[in-house]
């Protein structure tokens, strides 16, 4: 079973995302900010990461930059999932090594399409 880490400071969003991702056949872990996400990745690299942008302590983009320097950190497919919908943010995310980008609000169909386009399902 493939694994996915959901990183978002909103418990509600994590719950919604977890439902969607488990329905796609993934096992799911949650982290409430970038710091917790780094810890989770040090323990076990997931196959996929669904990543919010704005979070306390360590933002999504900071986490992604850190992740890509960690051993095995080039492995996970990273999909941003954020209310930041400006082209400049998207470009920055791509530069930092994001594989896909979802602009909130999102639904199961959007997550499924994005996951399938980057070969996760």
């Amino acid at each position: 079973m493939k694994s996915c880490l959901v990183v978002d400071d909103s418990r509600v969003v994590r719950k919604v995302a977890r439902r969607i991702i488990e329905d796609l056949g993934f096992s799911c872990e949650e982290a409430e900010d970038g710091v917790f996400a780094v810890a989770a990745c040090q323990k076990a690299m997931p196959d996929a990461i669904l990543l919010d942008w704005n979070m306390p302590n360590m933002s999504g983009i900071e986490f992604l930059e850190k992740l890509r320097t960690m051993p095995g950190g080039e492995q996970p497919k990273v999909v941003f999932c954020t209310t930041e919908n400006d082209m400049s943010f998207i470009q920055r995310a791509i530069m930092a090594g994001a594989n896909e980008y979802i602009m909130k609000p999102f639904d199961g169909e959007i997550v499924a399409t994005k996951f399938s386009q980057i070969g996760l399902i």
Binding site: N85, D86, M87, I90, Q91, I94, A98, E100, Y101, I102, M103, F106, E109, I110, T113, S116, Q117
Partner: protein, 276 residues
């Protein structure tokens, strides 16, 4: 709604667009026509029905047909047809017509443009590999209103998000607030034209590939058969037809046969089996 009233709409829709509606959908009529009634300042459905019994305004009829047809579409819808276009169709045309040919494609019910623009983007993405080839994309639809949207090439965040990979969104669109506009060089690759699939198709010449997806499902068997037979005359010998996921030629026409092992892909019934 009374059956006689329902029949006014049923007959009109069938004659103008081929769309078949059944009595169990009469609730749909009322809800979808509510905006039309409002736009035309008509008091209610009864008054609208009366208007249609006379010689109705052409624009009113168009608005009703528009309101009743489904425009649902998305970029890279089902993905596979576009992969197959790249991996099967283009090589087959190159084999038949040579490396510096023109490949003509018809998106035969293009709705708001996602299908033809997906094709145009596929061509851009493969531009290096397909350097000698000239592509022509004709995109047609019955609805003038939806064609205007297609030509404008403006999409909401929701629309681009359903199917457009992020790398391509960044490459081929510009952003103004929540609106994403397809760039001019992609727009210019597609020619849009108003066309009813019930009409003769002789004006179009010959295509190497026809996308006729998610429109035949709304028609009855005889209408599907007639459209497919006309299309087969517009498709080159080596040509390929793509239908939607819920559509088939089987039991409808003998002009086409499924391409072995490829779902949703059809070729002329007398086409030789593909070389392995």
């Amino acid at each position: 709604m009374k059956t006689v009233d329902f029949d006014v709409y049923k007959n009109m829709l069938y004659e103008k667009s081929g769309l078949v509606i059944t009595t169990d959908k009469s609730y749909l009529l009322e809800s979808r026509l509510a905006p039309v009634i409002k736009k035309w300042n008509i008091p209610d459905m009864v008054a609208l029905t009366d208007k249609l019994r006379g010689i109705p305004d052409k624009q009113l009829v168009e608005d009703i047909v528009d309101a009743m047809t489904t425009n649902e579409t998305m970029f890279f819808r089902d993905q596979k047809p576009f992969d197959k276009f790249r991996d099967l169709v283009v090589p087959a045309v190159l084999k038949a017509k040579g490396p510096n040919c023109t490949i003509r494609i018809w998106s035969a019910a293009c709705s708001s443009g996602q299908e033809p623009y997906t094709l145009a983007i596929t061509m851009k993405e493969n531009a290096a590999k397909w350097a000698g080839i000239k592509f022509e994309i004709l995109a047609t639809d019955l609805s003038k209103e939806i064609l205007d949207q297609a030509k404008a090439g403006k999409y909401s965040q929701f629309e681009v998000q359903r199917g457009m990979p992020i790398m391509m969104l960044v490459k081929y669109f510009t952003q103004t607030g929540d609106t994403w506009t397809i760039k001019d060089d992609i727009k210019q690759m597609v020619k849009f034209q108003n066309f009813n699939l019930l009409d003769p198709m002789d004006q179009f010449g010959t295509f190497d590939c026809i996308f006729c997806r998610n429109v035949l499902i709304y028609f009855d068997q005889p209408t599907k058969g007639k459209i497919l037979d006309k299309m087969s005359k517009r498709l080159a010998k080596h040509g390929t037809l793509f239908l939607g996921g819920a559509e088939t030629v089987l039991g409808i026409t003998n002009s086409f046969k499924p391409l072995e092992g490829e779902r949703g892909v059809y070729v002329h019934s007398d086409a030789p089996p593909p070389a392995k």
